[in-house]
């Protein structure tokens, strides 16, 4: 586009210009255009091209960490990725946290990020894989707010394959009021990240004692919450226990 605009008007004046000057101008314009093109490429090459060219193998983790050194670089990468994959988005969710880790234990690093679509809710989990220069993204949304992403990437079976604990609301969001939430366990199934709760019953079994003790404490009045919210808190723990028992009985 730049070349068309730059050279077009010159061509209309070609007849009144000395042929040698015309040649020089053409060469200069061509040089200028190539320069602009090169600078443009460098600018737009930016982080997504760099990420595409970089190896995402675990042995290259250090270099990848250098590329994604801070929230600004990861945010810019996701923004460019969205432009390619989801050009219809009207606004960009903001980055909350990110981790670089080999989720699937296949020797390749994944970028795991939490995003906020509004008011710092941080309730979108995005996993990005680099498959030979082609980026694939997987979005997981359970409704609950994610804090401390690192603690939600766990190896529950201690087999090297990591799972993601995604908080899911068991009742509609009620603002500040307590609502029941459980973690869904998402794992890689070869094609995507799927909910795999029933394969992690030991994890859910391990949650029960704490929940039961919290429920008991609330029923006995040993709680620091507003007394007006005690019934809600009681209901919260009851529903969470019920949801876990459902998983255990499947």
């Amino acid at each position: 586009m730049l070349m068309m605009y730059a050279i077009g008007p010159k061509n209309t004046r070609r007849e009144i210009m000395d042929i040698n000057i015309n040649k020089i101008i053409k060469i200069l314009l061509l040089g200028l255009f190539l320069g602009i093109l090169a600078v443009g490429n460098t600018a737009s090459a930016s982080i997504i091209d760099a990420a595409r060219e970089e190896s995402w193998q675990t042995q290259n983790l250090r270099a990848l960490k250098a590329l994604f050194s801070d929230e600004a670089s990861v945010g810019a990468f996701i923004k460019e990725l969205n432009k390619e994959l989801q050009p219809a988005l009207v606004f960009e969710p903001t980055l909350c946290e990110y981790e670089l880790t080999d989720l699937n234990h296949d020797g390749t690093i994944e970028l795991v990020a939490t995003l906020s679509p509004s008011r710092d809710f941080c309730n979108i989990i995005l996993v990005v894989q680099n498959n030979n220069g082609i980026f694939e993204t997987f979005e997981i949304r359970g409704g609950g707010f994610v804090k401390d992403l690192k603690s939600r990437i766990v190896d529950l079976h201690r087999d090297g394959r990591k799972e993601i604990l995604v908080p899911r609301l068991l009742a509609p969001y009620a603002g500040a009021k307590p609502i029941p939430i459980i973690n869904d366990v998402y794992e890689w199934d070869g094609a995507g990240y799927r909910k795999a709760n029933i394969f992690f019953k030991d994890y859910y079994r391990s949650l029960l004692p704490r929940l039961q003790s919290e429920l008991k404490a609330v029923r006995q009045g040993h709680t620091k919450v507003d007394p007006a919210e005690k019934p809600l808190l009681e209901e919260k723990y009851e529903k969470e226990i019920e949801a876990i028992n459902e998983i255990l009985n499947q």
């Binding site: 509004s118 008011r119 309730n123």
Partner: protein, 286 residues
């Protein structure tokens, strides 16, 4: 006993008389954002010079969001009271006092700056004043849904039971009337909290208009959204089911040929649409 020993004993006699441990100072002035005058007095029978005061107000939520600290330093004369107020801040207050070049008084650990019950009528007038859209009580509906119209709730924090900022269910990522992302001011100054919520909602209204423009470009036969419909779109964007995808909003285009209309998008956003409807229902109360 030597002179040095005597001097040490005298220098250690500075005692903070006020405030006292476990004193609580609610935000009751200037529309519930400032404490009344708090008296600071340190006594030393053997000294009438300057006393240096240092205060720290420390706040973090039950889920350890924060911490936020505000420090202050001021002076007074020994054995003479002076007063200070605290505005748009609250939490656990620690107080230190010292005589220049001499030993410090035992600090006060801790007194508390806490919230107070803000009358609903004050909140309602404030929220009306912050929004001039087609539904004047819409922000009231948001505050009702988000916080049950409370900036503070009665909980125990730092071992003290009183009115603390109303935390979101996850231990305080969001706070107060409009449940905005936590800061010291948003936690303790309900006027700043509501202003921030109103600003966020105003941004969502603009975003809703962008969605409308984009979808009408794709479907030129779509009618314009009414102001009230724009508000519905903005409400979904204020809530936790906000989404940048144009087909995940409150309304979605439906139709064929020349006949296109906006329909409620419960299919794609089954949580977001009820959130907006609920806010509208709650707004009717105010």
């Amino acid at each position: 006993m030597s002179i040095d020993d005597l001097s040490f004993q005298l220098s250690s006699l500075l005692i903070i008389k006020q405030p006292k441990v476990n004193d609580a100072y609610p935000l009751i002035q200037e529309s519930y954002i400032k404490t009344a005058d708090i008296t600071f007095q340190a006594d030393d029978p053997a000294y009438t010079g300057q006393v240096n005061w240092a205060t720290t107000v420390y706040y973090e939520t039950s889920g350890n969001r924060g911490p936020f600290t505000v420090t202050d330093a001021f002076t007074s004369q020994a054995n003479t009271p002076t007063t200070r107020t605290f505005k748009s801040q609250g939490g656990r207050l620690s107080v230190g006092a010292s005589e220049p070049g001499r030993k410090n008084a035992d600090p006060i650990q801790y007194a508390y700056i806490i919230g107070t019950a803000i009358p609903n009528s004050d909140i309602t007038s404030r929220l009306y004043s912050l929004y001039n859209g087609v539904t004047p009580n819409l922000l009231c509906g948001i505050a009702d849904r988000e916080s049950s119209y409370m900036q503070f709730s009665n909980i125990t924090l730092f071992g003290y039971t009183g009115r603390w900022p109303y935390e979101s269910y996850d231990g305080g990522s969001h706070i107060g009337l409009m449940q905005v992302p936590i800061t010291m001011a948003y936690s303790w100054d309900w006027q700043v909290n509501t202003q921030t919520g109103a600003n966020i909602f105003a941004e969502k209204v603009q975003l809703a208009k962008s969605f409308e423009r984009q979808l009408r470009k794709t479907y030129p036969r779509l009618p314009r959204l009414t102001d009230s419909q724009i508000e519905n779109m903005a409400l979904v964007l204020y809530g936790p089911e906000a989404d940048p995808d144009p087909y995940m909003q409150y309304y979605i285009p439906q139709g064929s040929g020349n006949n296109w209309q906006w329909v409620e998008n419960t299919a794609n956003n089954p949580e977001g649409v009820p959130y907006a409807n609920d806010v509208r229902d709650r707004a009717q109360k105010y």
